[in-house]
Symmetry: C2
Subunit: 139 residues, 2 copies
């Protein structure tokens, strides 16, 4: 296994609502197939796939409640954290944890998308982000 994540899929109950939220967040939906919403996220793809289709495809049933797998969007500045959280609230999501000082020294908060999927939004100067948006752990 080479070190990469190719696709992050969120199994959704309401594809249109979820896709509209991520479009309102500034992302561009690629319409390869109306049954799934794809977003090119730098070198990774974010996919929204209807829950029933995903369960049928994988042969598993998803659990209820908040997902134990969640995403983070790291920002290039302190103020961008607040902006992204506000944008999420205005786009049909909600702020789960308002922006504040992190114990690890940065600035961060959390939002949930319309179906409760969690994103951390963080400014962490110790984890550099390059021009293409790729993040790195400290050396």
């Amino acid at each position: 296994m080479e070190p990469r994540v190719s696709i992050v899929t969120i199994a959704v109950d309401d594809l249109d609502r979820e896709a509209s939220f991520y479009q309102a967040m500034g992302l561009t939906r690629h319409r390869i197939d109306d049954g799934v919403a794809f977003f090119q996220m730098g070198g990774v793809i974010l996919a929204l796939f209807p829950r029933e289709s995903a369960e049928e495809d994988a042969g598993v049933s998803f659990g209820a409640g908040v997902s134990r797998v969640y995403l983070a969007y790291n920002t290039r500045s302190h103020t961008e954290v607040n902006e992204v959280l506000e944008l999420a609230a205005q786009s049909g999501g909600r702020i789960v944890k308002p922006a504040g000082r992190a114990f690890w020294g940065g600035w961060y908060g959390y939002f949930a998308d319309p179906e409760g999927n969690i994103w951390e939004v963080a400014h962490n100067p110790d984890f550099p982000i390059d021009a293409e948006g790729r993040i790195s752990l400290p050396a």
Copy 2:
């Protein structure tokens, strides 16, 4: 929001067991902090964070059962799908769906890590992977 995912976090019950699995899969753990396992996955970071810590940090309780957010590892060849699934089974995970032909034309299957977190493993010639492991949607 720029189009990127920075970190994918899995909230885990047993950090050592989960970290050992991903190391057995061929990934390198970066020990910045013993309380979290970080893996540099190309331009994205995979983090394993103890469930209690994650719940306290975000102020949410995670649901039970299989996560609705799951990951995919896309391969560079058809045979690599089988190899990655076998490696997962040998590393303490299990094959959820054996490798087979996909309705979208490629070859794929699913494995679960020791705590049941799902990864799709897929060879999809329509989604090119560059030398650095970055995947792209079709133009």
